[in-house]
Symmetry: C2
Subunit: 204 residues, 2 copies
């Protein structure tokens, strides 16, 4: 099985393609010529690789855009784990803070904005949101369940939280405000845990 363990691998032909730079090339073409006017063939040629090789690193065209959002998820996970030990107000506050802090930890907000603007203006990319937000959904749900929120409530709150957060990101990207924090805070404020929320019991 390829594409696993980039660490302990000393045999076989070495990797020559850098996915990051390929994605960067693709984003440039998308910006210059438009998303739909740029074919996978165009991208492969511009990146100096074969079309099939391109598909080996990016299973779909949308992944060239959405792939760059992984750091945001990872950043929020880091923030979540860091804050998990510390004060645990209530599960949603922790999530809210981790999303905001994760956004602040992103290396280049300009790139993030460009990416989200592209997403926000293309049917295909918007539609990928359900799938693309999967890992964010996973960690969010995990956190809520770990905090003792009943499973069903956790799933609904998770879905609501992800939906509102994505909306916030899109709105921030569409405008020109430098800081996404106010958007994320306002958006996540619409989610609540009804009745027995909090880290009280482990009612499944």
């Amino acid at each position: 099985m390829p594409t696993v363990e980039p660490a302990t691998r000393s045999t076989g032909r070495p990797v020559t393609i850098d996915p990051e730079s390929v994605a960067r090339v693709a984003m440039e073409l998308f910006s210059r010529d438009g998303y739909e006017n740029t074919s996978m063939e165009d991208i492969a040629r511009a990146a100096g690789i074969g079309r099939k090789s391109l598909y080996r690193y990016f299973a779909t065209k949308a992944d060239l855009v959405w792939g760059g959002t992984e750091p945001a998820v990872e950043a929020s996970v880091v923030q979540l784990e860091a804050g998990a030990a510390g004060r645990a107000d209530d599960p949603l506050s922790a999530l809210r803070q981790s999303v905001v802090a994760g956004a602040a930890a992103l290396p280049d907000l300009a790139v993030t904005r460009a990416r989200l603007r592209l997403i926000g203006t293309h049917r295909d990319l918007l539609n990928r949101s359900y799938e693309a937000l999967g890992s964010q959904r996973d960690v969010t749900l995990e956190h809520l369940k770990a905090a003792g929120v009943p499973a069903a409530t956790a799933r609904y709150a998770c879905a609501a939280f992800i939906g509102a957060t994505f909306q916030a990101w899109l709105e921030w990207a569409a405008g020109n405000d430098p800081d996404p924090a106010p958007y994320l805070e306002a958006a996540t404020a619409v989610v609540r845990l009804p009745q027995g929320h909090g880290s009280v019991g482990k009612q499944l």
Copy 2:
């Protein structure tokens, strides 16, 4: 422009294709052979029409599945308008009730369940949710704004509401409980309007 005003149209070749029955045929094929194993060509052939004609009524393969969810949206809109004149607790309660009542007004829950099960188990169909829930999003947002909820809050609450509701529908469909109401009620309960909610002013 075709496909408008199905009413006052007395000239030209009459319609012979019934989109409803075509969609029904498609759903049967999807159930029997699987969504990805059924091509648009297969559907056209089974429906006794040309492939291009099929595309005239269903722009995408996913529309053959998602198209059937329109009645649910329309039903909830009817409920919303009916209740709008009556008691207006708060904007979210009205939405909650309209969704539940809309579900109860659906003619055939078994078909709805089959459809949602198909959606819930296919990447492609799940991804279409963003686009497919657009009209539901529109009416929801409209209601909130009409109720005087600040626009930004309304958009976030709307996104959260739609996300939670969709999750509820998927979970109901995956199980065997006859009534979706409890799912919808529990899901929509996680959304709230922070601070100055309610039909007090018309702050834009």
